[in-house]
Amino acid sequence: MEARIEAVPLDDEAWDRFAKRTGGAAAACFQCGVCTATCPWGLVRETPPSVRHLIRAAQLGRPNANEAAWLCTACGECEQACPRQVPIAEVFRGLRGLLWERREVPEGLPSVLWSMHWNRNPWSQPPSQRMRWAEGLDLPPFDPQAHEIVLYIGCTASYEPRAQKVARAVIRLLRAANVAFGVLGETEPCCGEAALSLGHRAYFEDISRTTAATLAERGVRRLVTISPHAFDVFRHHYPPGVLETTHYVAYLATLAQEGRLPLERALPKRITYHDPCLLGRKDQSYDAPRSLLEAIPELSLVEMEHHRENALCCGGGGGRMWMETPRGERFADVRIQEALATDSDFVVTACPFCIVMLEDSLRGMADQRMKVVDLGELLTLAIPDEAILA
């Protein structure tokens, strides 16, 4: 007697809606499974989520919006490997969008969006205190007539103490290079990246529309960002042709090339570089940071086992900065092991989220010889004092 096989109804309308929501992201997938094979969740779980299944379910009009949809860190390993260039992170954001509609989202996430709404930042910090970190720095308010660029600080560097140090370092470098820059101050608008990566596209569109209008009002054309997340969202998810967005690493690399950044002091340290996903794989920006590091006298750069295109994600992207990852499943723990294996004094990176995730992992270790340092912070050590004080 044959067992009855349940026929599963396919829902063309649901597929159409999902395709519309995600710009047809899942359409090109032909189910090869390379995505599942490359996903870093395979490094920390015996049975990692099947990215391939998730895409298939969406194609069949039965989007599998469940807890697996929240695992994606948007690291881009799958997209890089995909033979059909399926924008897989967009598929995940689409699934998350469905979960927002069903109100099946992890605890804490609605509060992140509410914070963006009431406080203009995802960190629940008072909007009036956005510039507190900059007291005494005399940062000039942006003047389109006088300034080459806007230094876009962003919510994380404005409020998170570790990231504030990065902002201060970048400012010292800009001053050492005599860059005419301004900042947007207390009313600097939030880029909205958290809303996008958490999958609430509608809210992201609302917030980004407002931010774009504010930037236009203030005559902002050229932005240099502290965070790769702000960089990515302004570059790829804001209306094209309006803003010219650069991340500070690329900007500093250009300054160095132009001879404006005096990287003269020797730094006899052994370091390794952690490529942030949004600068590396997403932006193909592997050489800019390395060119800066190589310009520092006596600095010795050792690559980790997985670097450049294969760099391992820190686990903080895709909105996971706002979600709890159980011990044993943290990408950052794996990454720190790789960094320690290079026997470096510093693991250098260029993203506030990477820094938080990597430092958190390092804190738990008995071996504290290695430090997590931001590229900007490292560069300030190579600039002669006179240049900074000038």
């Binding site: 509609e101 109100r103 605890e107 609605p110 709404h117 909007p127 009036s128 205190q129 509608a202 809210y203």
Partner: protein
């Protein structure tokens, strides 16, 4: 059975850290302060919307304030509330809690049939926490205050609320209609549903009522209806963290610490 009708009292408040007292005029300076829905009222709304999820019906927002409350109040519609009644009249200005609760009660009466009035525990500006009880008294209704969870028995027309008591909890039951106040931060308010956002912006979703619309007695509203007066106002000392280091041996430091903590224990 008529549909469940829940009223939620909502206040729009200035962000507390942005309000100053002018040291020369002793006036509260609210201009320039960003506004927000009083955070405990968000928790109250979430309770009301969960009841709507469960039992159907509708949620009416009641708010006493000027027209500039409107955009912030409309976020409640995007969360799932059905209608806003904004009680706006120059005559309401200067109201203490007696006059405020009287005004809210008049509005509730004008809405006629309702099962529940839900309030946040207190507002971040005045922080009296008296509105729920006062409102219940004007309406001559039972009250359950500081609840964290609510369930209804629609057939029996009763409402149960769970509330914390020292070292534990209790569940109390009162007949409906009733007034509830909700414990701050007891739940996570749902974010706005952007599918209904355009609908939430329709002008018809908000009605403004004046004192005359609600049949308010002039002697009971605004400054006239307020027994309490403000005799003085000043900025409290800075709320920045003190960063005081307590020195000495562990024993000495512990002693110093307990001395500092006494007023707060």
């Amino acid at each position: 059975m008529p549909e469940l009708h829940t009223i939620v009292c909502v206040k729009v408040v200035p962000k507390p850290e942005e309000v100053r007292v002018d040291p020369e005029t002793w006036r509260l300076v609210r201009e320039g302060a960003r506004s927000e829905v009083n955070p405990p009222d968000m928790n109250a709304m979430e309770i009301a919307l969960r009841l709507k999820d469960r039992h159907g019906g509708r949620v009416t927002i009641l708010s006493m304030g000027p027209a500039f409350f409107e955009p912030d109040l409309r976020t409640s519609l995007a969360m799932g509330a059905d209608h806003i009644c904004l009680l706006s009249d120059a005559a309401f200005a200067g109201a203490d809690t007696l006059a405020t609760t009287y005004t809210l009660a008049q509005a509730a009466r004008k809405l006629e049939r309702f099962d529940l009035v839900i309030c946040g525990e207190e507002s971040s500006d005045g922080a009296t926490g008296q509105v729920p009880s006062g409102l219940a008294e004007w309406l001559d209704l039972p009250q359950l205050t500081l609840v964290t969870e609510v369930t209804l028995d629609r057939d029996g027309a009763t409402v149960r609320g769970r509330r914390g008591i020292p070292g534990g909890f209790e569940i109390l039951e009162v007949p409906m209609p009733a007034v509830l106040s909700v414990r701050t931060a007891c739940n996570e308010p749902r974010f706005m549903d952007y599918r209904i956002k355009p609908w939430s912006e329709e002008p018809a979703r908000l009605t403004t009522w004046t004192a005359a619309d609600m049949g308010c007695e002039p002697a009971f509203i605004g400054q006239k209806g307020s027994p309490t007066i403000v005799a003085g106002l000043r900025q409290a000392e800075s709320r920045a963290r003190r960063r005081e280091r307590l020195e000495g041996s562990p024993k000495q430091a512990a002693e110093l610490l307990l001395e500092r903590l006494k007023p707060y224990l």
